[in-house]
């Protein structure tokens, strides 16, 4: 996904309004673009506060900045700059992260970013995309970068589904279990695992790579009584949105995602999926417990 992002962003630089702001991360990958557009591919060094401040300043002059780093450095380190240098100034930027919740699990806590979407969700009016496949990346970027002035967060990962659904901003039904069936909504690269988890269970599975704005109309059209939300970041991040969308209906909601506990373990992303119950077996256990009659 990162390579696709670099290639796509490099294309966008043909538009003289586009700028890329970096803090060393991926600077080598953008070197050819920087050689062509030295005034609009800006690597500020390992300075994330400045990276976002510069994006705000660029936007104040009418440019469209794309800002890129590791998820925790991009969103958490410079959160006040995101809030004040973009939102409070009334200007926008497109933030594109790599690393996701634990793509580099062996790097430890400093490089984990499970809270990124929840933090962005404290802000107003942001679009958030969590592509589940590299082929979803170009369309997502085009949608949020080109011809728009508002802000967006695009969360790239090394985890991927087998099939791309480029148009799945709105909920897309991948598996239809019929009217009234429990609805599982998978966000981004957890779709394949979710499909494997519900296997032979009568559960409708819908997919989206755009948790904000969440497709609440699609949710209302598809949801019966039971709703299961599977997100590859902090568990429950979209619970408030789903809860509000279904406030007028009796329903039960199960939210699955990354737990808040700091595990202090390394290993691989797949290991962390298993420890957080986000592998197929873990998801199946949670879904079965949720759908089984209380005993």
């Amino acid at each position: 996904m990162r390579d696709t992002f670099v290639a796509t962003a490099t294309e966008f630089l043909d538009d003289p309004r586009t700028a890329v702001v970096l803090a060393d991360i991926s600077a080598a990958a953008f070197a050819p673009a920087a050689a062509r557009h030295p005034d609009r591919v800006l690597n500020v060094g390992i300075r994330e506060q400045l990276m976002v401040g510069v994006a705000g300043g660029l936007a104040l002059t009418g440019l469209r900045p794309i800002v890129h780093s590791y998820a925790p450095f991009l969103v958490e380190r410079a959160y006040e700059q995101i809030k004040l240098d973009l939102d409070h100034q009334g200007v926008g930027a497109v933030l594109v992260s790599v690393g996701a919740s634990y793509d580099r699990a062996a790097a430890g806590r400093t490089h984990l970013g499970p809270a990124d979407v929840a933090l962005i969700d404290t802000l107003h009016g942001w679009t958030v995309h969590v592509p589940g496949h590299r082929d979803e990346v170009p369309g997502v970027l085009r949608d949020v970068v080109c011809g728009r002035r508002d802000s967006a967060y695009v969360r790239l990962s090394t985890q991927s589904n087998g099939t791309a659904y480029p148009d799945a901003g709105d909920l897309r039904v991948v598996r239809d279990a019929g009217p009234g069936a429990p609805l599982l909504v998978a966000v981004g690269p957890v779709l394949d695992r979710a499909l494997a988890a519900v296997g032979d269970r009568p559960v409708t599975v819908a997919y989206t790579h755009r948790p904000r704005p969440f497709d609440t109309a699609g949710l209302r059209a598809l949801a019966g009584t039971e709703v299961i939300l599977v997100e590859p970041y902090l568990a429950g991040t979209s619970a408030r949105v789903v809860g509000a969308a279904l406030a007028d209906r009796p329903h039960r909601l199960l939210t699955l995602g990354v737990d808040r506990t700091e595990l202090r373990r390394y290993g691989s992303a797949e290991d962390h999926d298993r420890w957080h119950g986000l592998d197929a077996a873990g998801l199946r256990r949670s879904v079965d417990a949720f759908l089984s009659p209380a005993g």
């Binding site: 005034d39 500020v44 506060q49 401040g53 300043g57 936007a59 002059t61 240098d85």
Partner: protein, 231 residues
């Protein structure tokens, strides 16, 4: 290019009194007034008619609490109606205790949390350069205590290293930094390749010379020292 429409000191004092409305102002309000006057009278190429002109000079007030003199000056220059000063901070006022660029004509950035203006100024200077707008200049006003914020030092180092020539920082030095800047604030900039001038922050002629003393090759800092207000 320089405008020379001197602000009548008596008018400015009267406008400041309208903002003040019997409240006590801290020394920072008065220590900033001379720099603001010289900037708006003689340096900045901005008028109420050109607040949206892409080729205007930019003035970014980073120390957003120094707002009373700023509002008074914006009123004196016709950017905002004088009547707005009377209920500053009120429920229907557009003039907060820190300025909001979406509410006040002529205000380039909303500020208040310290350490944001210089990064925004660097980005603004880069954005102007990328669009081939070589004429406008970006001025950012900071306080010496504001320099405590590490974000400023990210901006100082980067602007110096890349020779961001269309940027001027102004440090209003009223010796309010808790731990001081031994050797002076200017050294924090010059070590990173900026040009610098340290002047008496009350001396309008010296301020004008310093504020127009950039060399067009490097970023420039003016340290305006104001220590005679009993802090």
């Amino acid at each position: 290019m320089t405008t020379t429409t001197a602000t009548d000191p008596a008018l400015l004092a009267a406008l400041l009194d309208r903002v003040r409305a019997d409240r006590d102002f801290g020394p920072n309000v008065y220590s900033t007034l001379d720099v603001l006057q010289v900037l708006y009278d003689r340096v900045l190429r901005i008028t109420p008619e050109t607040v949206d002109d892409p080729d205007r000079d930019r003035f970014l007030l980073s120390k957003g609490h120094a707002v009373a003199g700023y509002y008074a000056l914006l009123a004196a220059k016709g950017f905002v109606p004088v009547a707005w000063l009377d209920d500053q901070g009120g429920p229907d006022s557009r003039l907060g205790d820190h300025p909001d660029r979406l509410l006040v004509p002529g205000v380039e950035i909303g500020s208040g949390s310290l350490g944001h203006g210089l990064g925004l100024g660097v980005g603004t200077a880069l954005g102007l350069r990328a669009q081939g707008r070589t004429d406008p200049r970006v001025y950012v006003l900071l306080g010496d205590a504001e320099l405590d914020e590490g974000s400023n030092h990210e901006a100082i180092a980067y602007a110096g290293a890349t020779g961001l020539a269309n940027l001027t920082a102004i440090v209003l030095d009223n010796h309010s930094a808790s731990h001081g800047w031994p050797g002076g604030a200017a050294g924090r900039f010059t070590v990173n390749g900026w040009t610098a001038a340290t002047v008496d922050g009350r001396d309008h002629a010296a301020l004008h010379a310093a504020l127009t003393g950039h060399d067009h090759h490097r970023p420039h800092v003016v340290v305006a020292v104001v220590t005679d207000n009993g802090e």
